[in-house]
Symmetry: C2
Subunit: 204 residues, 2 copies
């Protein structure tokens, strides 16, 4: 980020000169659009309209909708960058790589805060649930399913995600003991085999 | 419940005559106490004081703190009644009985609403998280752990709970497809073996 942090009030109407003020306006407009419409129905053009900026400026700051979402929601990583690294490597260790990455993100206060906000919104309003469903399907689940490349890949990835989400709830949100204080390696040994089983194991 | 439904405004100060009005005041006081203090630190005496009723009246309506909580939060079942039934029967099918019961409760609108309120509160405020942690530990986890009767029973039951919580999130809250539309029996076949593994399987 460059320049001084802009205030929360947008400047007067009309086409902005750009700069960090415009970027902040784009992110505020994006949060408003995502909260109202979910993920799938939001367009970069619509965000630009709400932010009252030229659509070209949006493309100057962001590579696409996913990156706008990641910035607007202050997610600690962009799935478009992180997933290829996680998906590369032996498929029989994919469960462990996913579990480790997920635990790492939730261990950091910023990551935890951003994901907790998504979960809080998803458990509080149907719009929040739709937003998480559509973003997770688009940016996460479909990529992992494509890597698996089997007919029931979607259900496998969703089963793995339920285990990851529940782990986050139990360890980091609800704080069940002894699970919450267990060393990360022990949590990986306990949970990663389940994730691996859902991804590549023999299912009924 | 007997008698007409009382309004939300308590009557004038002083010792009440009892009846459904007093019961509603007790439940309102209980919600207030649980929200402020979590589960463990709340006492029946404290609820009676906040509700301005004689503690004996509380014991007239409720068998204990757990039943007050279940009524105040409108949970669709009392763990004290349901758990003995689930825990009875062959231990090698405990994972399936737990998964089926859990899916059944979340399938009913009332059950879903009550548990969603607990999850929403747990993901929104630390007090909400503490309330769910303390109630789950007290009324659910410790009972199941006692049934297992092995040294690492607590961690086993918590691991099983993470899978149950994540399943509820994925299937009923976020609504991931195809998981959300999968017939119950297929969900049980997919998830129950994981629950059983955590409870009685060979862990690292």
């Amino acid at each position: 980020m460059t320049g001084a942090r802009a205030g929360s009030q947008p400047r007067g109407r009309g086409r902005p000169a750009g700069g960090s003020d415009a970027r902040d306006r784009i992110l505020a407009a994006a949060r408003q659009e995502f909260a109202a419409k979910g993920y799938d129905k939001v367009s970069l053009r619509g965000i630009a309209r709400t932010a009252e900026v030229d659509p070209a400026l949006l493309h100057h700051y962001f590579s696409g909708k996913e990156q706008v979402f990641v910035s607007a929601m202050q997610l600690p990583f962009d799935p478009a960058d992180a997933l290829p690294l996680i998906l590369a490597g032996p498929i029989e260790e994919l469960g462990e790589r996913i579990t480790r990455f997920f635990l790492g993100v939730w261990s950091e206060p910023e990551g935890r805060g951003a994901f907790l906000a998504l979960l809080s919104s998803a458990t509080t309003t149907p719009a929040g649930a739709a937003l998480l469903r559509e973003f997770a399907s688009d940016a996460l689940l479909s990529q992992v399913a494509a890597r698996l490349g089997v007919p029931d890949a979607e259900l496998r990835v969703e089963a793995a995600l339920t285990q990851m989400l529940g782990l986050a709830l139990g360890r980091f949100v609800i704080g069940l003991e002894p699970l919450a204080s267990l060393p990360t390696d022990d949590v990986v040994r306990l949970i990663a085999p389940t994730v691996q089983h859902y991804l590549t194991g023999e299912l009924p």
